[in-house]
């Protein structure tokens, strides 16, 4: 196999760092240029993004209020 990457494969490859906001400006612009043209990749990105948002929302469990008091009680007395 040559080093050539299909634009969609390349897009797939940078999807994770793109969605995690870990690309540099150049890489980001390149990914966005491809996304603007490619409905398939846009759909892939949207799916991954919505899955991530969903995981984040669902897993955000509130801290029990009593715990906050217990933690405050661990402070060094003045």
């Amino acid at each position: 196999m040559s080093g050539y990457l299909d634009p969609c494969d390349k897009c797939e490859e940078v999807m994770q760092p793109y969605l995690d906001r870990a690309l540099d400006d150049g890489e980001r612009a390149e990914a966005e240029a491809h996304l603007a043209d490619c409905g398939y990749c846009r759909k892939r990105y949207r799916f991954e993004e919505s899955l991530r948002v969903f995981v984040r929302q669902v897993c955000a469990e509130e801290m029990p209020p009593e715990l906050k008091q217990k933690l405050a009680a661990l402070r060094t007395p003045l």
Binding site: P17, R46, F47, R56, C59, E61, E62, L67, K70, L74
Partner: protein
């Protein structure tokens, strides 16, 4: 021949400064407790364990507050303590990543649901709507520890790759590959749940 006049005021000032810094540290740390708990809750399987872990973390943080460098990421510093305590507790079952079945590919979840949902689920966006809250929580808790730690820190804790690497004491490249594989496994688990 008395003590130099300045000795006592200096000492008093030092103590006052230290007390003020400590109070500030404790307040800043407590303000992050919600976020620390949210991550802790997904590191362990029960709420009680998460509470214990967070309490132990804060007890240790308050004891060793002077080893924190002001101006650096306090949330990451706290999570580093929490992660170490969690490892010390022996909760973790170390599985070698190589032993994991990694046949799943990225399209697995979307495809599985699309297959069973027929024409209506052609839009991948709708796949996510079909997943239940429980299925995500269960799938996340069934991830091998090494993978879950990274997914939880980045996806739920919103830490950067660099922070996650520092917290877990692993290279950034390892964070990225574990994240990638962890999310894949997660999607595989979710696919199984979504079609049950």
């Amino acid at each position: 021949m008395g003590e130099p006049d300045t000795a006592e005021p200096d000492e008093a000032r030092r103590i006052a400064t230290e007390a003020r810094d400590r109070v500030r540290f404790e307040e800043e740390a407590l303000a992050l407790a919600d976020q620390v708990y949210r991550v802790a809750r997904r590191f362990v399987s029960s709420r009680e364990e998460a509470e214990d872990l967070v309490q132990d973390t804060y007890a240790r943080a308050f004891r060793s507050w002077q080893s924190y460098t002001p101006g650096t990421n306090l949330r990451a510093w706290l999570l580093r303590i929490l992660t170490n305590l969690n490892v010390d507790r022996g909760r973790r079952i170390q599985r070698r990543p190589d032993e994991l079945p990694l046949e799943e590919h990225d399209y697995y979840l979307a495809n599985r649901v699309a297959e069973t949902g027929g024409e209506q689920v052609l839009d991948q966006d709708r796949v996510v709507e079909r997943l239940s809250q429980d299925s995500i929580v269960t799938a996340l808790s069934s991830l091998p520890d090494d993978f879950r730690d990274v997914v939880v820190l980045v996806d739920i804790g919103d830490f950067s790759y660099a922070d996650a690497a520092q917290i877990l004491d692993i290279p950034i490249g390892t964070v990225m590959s574990r994240l990638h594989r962890g999310r894949r496994i997660l999607k595989g688990e979710l696919a199984d749940k979504a079609v049950e």
